[in-house]
Every structure is written in structure tokens, then in C-alpha cells.
Symmetry: C2
Subunit: 329 residues, 2 copies
């Protein structure tokens, strides 16, 4: 029975969305605690008509807490998730720190809900681009096993948090006002630009973000599927988009794929080329589902399908998925 | 011997770039004529210190003209290219109208210069995304034949001409000023958005833009290569970017690919992950070459390579390629 819930990293973009979603979904809790670093202690936020004050993330803060929703960064999770577990809480962790730990289930409720019960105190929430992708892959993989994935992402500023969105807005304001452009959060100016580089580079010259799509997808889907990703930061505010090609063991027709996506959990089919209908990030901010469109036969692979998806990176890509895991606990 | 040159569509984004490039490259001509529709007649532009007045595109305008560089739209080319040819000119046409005509060579000078001499008066300039892609594919295809291409594009506002760029700038200005956003040139708001739809849809639910990448690539490369593309308009001003996966008959190593791109004509290798070095649209406006980076082994295909390219859509993607064809005539 979950009574006492704590949000760790409560002042960030995902933390704030967690607050919103817990209220919107009327998550069954008695007490909610907002935790953050020293700098944010004392800030106040509304929750169901009450005012909550941010408290310091420290070992004592987890006493009596049943559930921790954590989105404070990998180093904070590394330090405090085990402390919270020792104090008796279950931790649903939004950071990358525990995701590939063999003792920690990595869960997208639409895909592998059965893994939740294997937890030993910590359940990891996958990376945003992976979550959206596997939600769309699930019903197609149920028709015929997916063997290969090629995916190019179009990731919004929100992937770098609230400060990422603020910096992008500030950059356009500065450009319009003829001022020098401020570049702090991103490695380069993002306004009017694309940055084909998210997270750090690894030994094989893929970025960590790209390798997350490879490794996390295999773990979530319990599959040996191989995935080659190119992850690109674009000048959108808070929805991520992905252009995907999949190869399945047997061919799947466009009609089958459309029907499967339409019936799929957490998915919306929006594939109406005759009426210029397809998902776009600007339209889908704040939506819970992953929207799929532009479904076509892969012209370069008889067993291939090609499609486009868009999802709200902060909701399904992070906060909503975490709450959905907690709801199933 | 080319003496008298006419630019058809002289007031558009590509027309203006043609003017710049003819001057920058000191193209050997005696007289330059600027042609446009009635609305632009009388406008004045500088060329090599002289002032040129825009004249009306009409049959009489081509008298004595040796070379027409045309970028006025498919319907204008359809009507006036044959008239110009009858008047004795060679037409290098930037529009889509003649590209797939079996009697018209489709040329990227770095790839199939030998096709120029097959012309019967008209030489077609390929679509921007195809030009950039085949320039990068050429040296790799010389190592081992490319069998399949998967490509996701990130195409800037300039692909919709000068009015496309102006609309994107206007949209950000309106957003910053808190005004309603003007949407005219694009089907949807492009600022803070992505539009996975360029040109019209065809019967197989690919767009014409995507099918250009399939069909034009085969024609230029004299190859049965198959190409599946997803073309997306992004909020950049004038460089197009592409995320590519290619499958070759025999595997090509990353080192071989880097060496081939580095030595390739019209190409610049910019692939320095250790120092966050990769091509970005904001850095490459006004550049002639296609820049390639992020070269990796395809994790989902033993015979595959994965890379990223960026090129100035108005220069190599249109005007420069046309002038390079003319220079070889």
C-alpha cells in the first residue's frame, strides 16, 4: 500500500510534470513530499489545493516514504536510491544510472509490465526516445519479430530539461532583438540549428543517447533486436519525433501495421496523408500517448516498414511512464 | 562558346544565388540577362559593378541567348525551356519538370559528368536532398556497390524559397512579440515544429520529395540501388541535413569511409567526435561543399555504414550545381 510519496528532483521539468500527473490521475497517496537540492529548499508548489514546500534531499528525508519518484540526475540517484530502498521505499528512477543493472527491471508498462514484480526496490524508467519507440514497436513485434531497427531522432530542447527549453526561447528572443545569442546549456546554438550529438560519445563513435536506444530496447523487449540510431537535437520545445525503419521476420503490410498501431496500448494512429494528417511536435505537447503516422512499406527492404512517431518527451518520455509504473506496483 | 547567359527566375532564392555564384566564380560570359515574371520586371540587381534590370520571361527574351539557368518553377520550365532550346540555347533546369525525362540527362558533376554530353538542349539539375546525398555516396559506391539506402532528412526553410525563409523568421518574431503566428507558405507553423511532409503525397504514401530521392539517385548513379526516405522540414534557415544508413555489397570500414570522403570531390570530412566536431546547418551557410561526419558502423547491419551530412541547400543543393554543370558544357 502506497501512502507516502516523495518526488526527488521536484523542481526540474520532469519533477514538475510528475506533480501535475499525480494530481491529474488522482494517484492514491496520502502525503506528498517534494525533495530537491539545497538551492531550491523552501520553494512552494501547489498540489490538490495544498501548498507544499520543497525539502532537502538527505538520508533522513526518506523515513516513512513508500514510493520515491526520482528525476534528479544519475549522481543523485546513485547516492540516494539505495538509501531510500533501505528506508523501505520503492524507487522508480528516471535517470540512466540503474537502467542496465541486471538486478533492476527496466519497464515500459505497455511493453513489459510483468518485469515490475521482479524488482528489488528499484525500477528504472527508460530513456525518453526508447520509451516512445518501444511503445510503437510492441504491437508490430507481436505480429512478427522485429530483427533490425534504423532510427533517426528529432529531439526537442526539453530533453535537456527546463533550462534547455528556456535557453532555446532565449536564443530566439535574442535573435529577434538583434542581440548576441547565449549558449550555455547546449554545446552549440540550437536556434535555427540542429545538433547531431546528445549525451557523450562512446568508443564506437555512437553517443550514449544512441547506445541507450540499442541497449535499453533489447532489455525492455527481451529481444536480440539490433538498433542503429542517430540522435539529433532540433529546435522544438518539448516533443520528440523519430523516423523509423524496421525489418521483421515476415513482412507486415501497411494495413496490418495501421490496425495494430490503432489497437495498441498507449498509441494513437494519426496517418491520413490524403488530408495532410501526421503527428507534429507542436500539436502534441501535453499528450499522454505516442502518435504514429507516415506508415509505408520500406522501399529498400521487402520485410521492412517505415514510419514516423511523435510523443511528449516530458510526459510519456519520462514522468507519465514513471507514474504508470507506480500505478501498477 | 557561351557568351550570353540568362537567369530565368532571377528574383527567387536560387536565382539570386546564381547571380552571386556567377560573379564569385568569374563565370566566362559577356552578357547576363535577368528574367522573371511580370511582377518583378524592372527590379535592379548589381552584377560585377553593373546594374541589371529584370526583364519579362517571354519567347523573345531568349533570342541570342547561349545558356539559360532556370529556377522559376516547373510550369515555367515546361513552357519556356523548349522555346529557349529552339532559340539555340542550352538550358540547365533547376526544376523537377524534366528530371525523369529519358531524353534529359540528370547531372551532378562530381558523380556523372559524362552524362552532360548526352544532352539535347536541356540538362536537369537534381533535387537538393538528392544532390547532397549522391555527392557523399559516390566515393563509397566506388569502394563497394551501394545496395540499399535509408535516409531521414532535416530540411531547412530555404527549400521553400526566399519566402519560406522569410516566413520562418516572421514566425519567431511574432512568437517573441506575443502576436498570432502567420502561416502561409508552409502547411503548418514551422517555428518550434517539424513538418514530416515536403511536396505532395504519391500513391504509395511517400511524398514526391521522398520519391525524388529514390528515382533521381538511381538515374544519376546509373544504379538499381533502392532508397527509402523520410523527408522532414525543420526550423533551420538554409542548410539541409541528412541521417543516412547505407548497405554495401562488401563491408566498408569506418576508416576506409573517412578516407574516401576526405578524398572525395565536393566533400569535406568533418568527423571529430573527440572534439565535438560534426557538421551543423548553422555553421555551413554559404559553403560550396557537402560536409560529412558521424561516420559509424551500422549496428543493425554488418555491411552497413551510418553517417550524417549537411550542405547549403541553395548553393550545392541548387545554384552551385547548376553553374558547375554549365562550366563543364
Amino acid at each position: 500500500m502506497i501512502r507516502n510519496v516523495a518526488i526527488m528532483g521536484a523542481t526540474g521539468a520532469v519533477g514538475q510534470e510528475l506533480l501535475t500527473i499525480l494530481e491529474q490521475r488522482n494517484f492514491p497517496l496520502q502525503n506528498l513530499k517534494l525533495l530537491a537540492s539545497e538551492r531550491s529548499v523552501g520553494r512552494e508548489y501547489k498540489f490538490k489545493g495544498e501548498t507544499l514546500k520543497v525539502e532537502l534531499t538527505c538520508p533522513e528525508a526518506f523515513k516513512g516514504v513508500d514510493l520515491v519518484l526520482s528525476s534528479a540526475g544519475a549522481s543523485v540517484s546513485k547516492e540516494f536510491a539505495p538509501i531510500a530502498v533501505d528506508a523501505g521505499a520503492v524507487v522508480v528512477d528516471n535517470t540512466s544510472f540503474f537502467r542496465m543493472d541486471p538486478n533492476v527491471p527496466l519497464v515500459v508498462p505497455e511493453v513489459n509490465p510483468e518485469d515490475i514484480k521482479l524488482h528489488k526496490g528499484i525500477i528504472a524508467n527508460p530513456n525518453c526516445t526508447t520509451i516512445m519507440m518501444v511503445v510503437a514497436l510492441k504491437p508490430l513485434n507481436d505480429i512478427s519479430k522485429i530483427k533490425r531497427i534504423h532510427v533517426a531522432t528529432y529531439q526537442s530542447a526539453s530533453g535537456a530539461g527546463a533550462t534547455g527549453m528556456a535557453e532555446l526561447k532565449q536564443q530566439y528572443q535574442e535573435i529577434v532583438e538583434g542581440k548576441p545569442v547565449t549558449v550555455k546549456k547546449f554545446a552549440h546554438q540550437l536556434a535555427y540549428n540542429l545538433i547531431p550529438h546528445i549525451d557523450v560519445f562512446t568508443d564506437n563513435d555512437y553517443t550514449k543517447e544512441e547506445m541507450k536506444m540499442y541497449n535499453e530496447t533489447r532489455k525492455i523487449m527481451h529481444s536480440d533486436v539490433s538498433c542503429s540510431a542517430t540522435c539529433v537535437r532540433v529546435s522544438a520545445l518539448r516533443c520528440h519525433s523519430e523516423a523509423l525503419w524496421i525489418e521483421t521476420e515476415k513482412p507486415i503490410s501497411v494495413e496490418e501495421a495501421r490496425a495494430a498501431i490503432k489497437a495498441g496500448e498507449g498509441l494513437q494512429l494519426f496517418d491520413d496523408p490524403a488530408n495532410n494528417g501526421y503527428p507534429m511536435p507542436l500539436d502534441l505537447m501535453g499528450k499522454d500517448d505516442v502518435y504514429v503516422g507516415r506508415i509505408r512499406k520500406d522501399l529498400a527492404n521487402e520485410n521492412g516498414l517505415n514510419f514516423w512517431l511523435v510523443g511528449d518527451q516530458i510526459r510519456k518520455g519520462a514522468a507519465l511512464n514513471a507514474v504508470q509504473i507506480a500505478e501498477r506496483l
